[in-house]
């Protein structure tokens, strides 16, 4: 007897389940499943914020996190070895970090990827906001760690260092959000990096000519506060834009 014959025998000699009983059971199970399945609203409620953030974190490409860690390492090493003055040059990395983050934030919207990611569970607006939160907090943490490390090792004032790092970051993100709303910006992902480079150039020019000197904590803190307010306004616009798109 060949294997094929054995296979046939085993299949043919097996009794069939009672079709009536089988059919009624399948109907019953399907009914149970449809009752158990959550409605979209219930699903959204079951998605806790931590899970949403975890999902979004998973979608952000590793290069963003790798570059962030690399930037912190370079900034800490350079400033601790070359002196506090270097912070202004080294903080030029912050616009690049912001540009890269903004590309990541807008990537989903540019390629309609938010539709595929979390929109089945939460709104596109929620997905975009979660993505911004993850990247924003990630970078804020990076700035905080850098400032703390520099304060610990070199004796630099942590608030001052933090403000010097955060200001170019905020400027870049605000301009990037504005650019992203234009047709050109939406079609060209790398426009965010162009903005970052522009911010670096302008900053270097300002620093070398000495037009604006950011010393102490009061003035940088004021500028940072204004930028945060602007950032919030831009964020609101971006989020509302999604509503307009739907309407």
């Amino acid at each position: 007897m060949k294997d094929k014959e054995l296979r046939m025998i085993l299949k043919n000699e097996c009794e069939e389940p009672d079709p009536v009983s089988k059919d009624s059971f399948i109907r019953k199970v399907n009914g149970m499943q449809s009752e158990q399945s959550l409605s979209p609203i219930q699903s959204a409620r079951s998605m806790n914020p931590v899970r949403v953030l975890a999902i979004e974190m998973h979608y952000i490409r590793k290069r963003v996190w790798v570059f962030s860690i690399l930037a912190i390492a370079i900034m800490v090493t350079a400033v601790s070895r070359l002196g506090e003055d270097m912070i202004l040059h080294i903080s030029d990395m912050m616009p690049l970090l912001a540009g890269l983050g903004m590309i990541e934030v807008m990537r989903a919207r540019m390629h309609d990827m938010s539709e595929l990611e979390a929109v089945t569970l939460i709104s596109a607006k929620g997905a975009l906001f979660a993505r911004m939160t993850v990247i924003g907090f990630g970078h804020l943490l990076a700035v905080a760690v850098t400032s703390a490390v520099l304060a610990g090792f070199g004796g630099y004032a942590a608030p001052e260092t933090g403000l010097k790092l955060i200001i170019p970051y905020l400027i870049t993100t605000i301009i990037c959000m504005e650019v992203e709303r234009t047709g050109f910006g939406r079609e060209n992902t790398w426009s965010c990096m162009a903005v970052a480079v522009l911010v670096i150039v302008i900053r270097e020019i300002i620093y070398s000519t000495g037009i604006v000197i950011l010393s102490g904590v009061a003035l940088p803190a004021l500028i940072a506060a204004a930028l945060v307010a602007l950032q919030a306004a831009e964020l609101k616009k971006t989020i509302r834009l999604e509503e307009y798109a739907w309407n």
Binding site: C14, E15, D18, N30
Partner: protein, 153 residues
């Protein structure tokens, strides 16, 4: 999940392990109910795991008719008015009953339900080579047993 497809597979699995149609149907339905009440993210292969455990429980509760009464039944068969098909079926069930548990399991999965080797590996925890070897041994043993039982197909 295609319940209809899996229903038949699980039924055949239970049938060849228990040897009784009505009990196999009960166990099949119980398997699905347990699977659906458990974590919905469980892979479908867990249906087999649940079915296997239910079959073991059933075997412990009531030993299959064929195990104890095989000798009597086969001696009575020539005198009983049964169809040839039923005789063949009883012969196969009897032969399956005599097979070692592990071999019978892979035989049902591979030869009756056409499950891929990778799925059997995941279910049994065996390597691919071990599954192939066990399938080959099980088929050889069943052929030998069927030869002894004078199976005529």
């Amino acid at each position: 999940m295609d319940i209809e497809l899996f229903y038949d597979k699980i039924f055949r699995y239970c049938y060849y392990r228990i040897g009784d149609k009505a009990t196999a149907e009960d166990l099949t339905q119980e398997t699905f109910l347990r699977f659906l009440n458990a974590d919905s993210r469980m892979p479908e292969r867990y249906l087999y795991t649940i079915a296997k455990n239910l079959c073991i429980d059933e075997y412990r509760k009531t030993r299959p008719i064929l195990t104890d009464e095989t000798g009597d039944e086969s001696s009575e068969l020539p005198g009983v008015d049964v169809t040839e098909s039923l005789v063949d079926r009883m012969t196969i069930l009897n032969a399956m009953e005599q097979m070692p548990e592990e071999e019978r399991e892979v035989l049902i999965l591979r030869y009756v339900n056409d499950e891929p080797v990778s799925a059997i590996c995941a279910l049994t925890g065996l390597s691919r080579f071990a599954v192939y070897r066990r399938c080959r041994d099980a088929a050889a043993r069943l052929k030998e047993l069927l030869g002894k039982e004078n199976y005529e197909g």
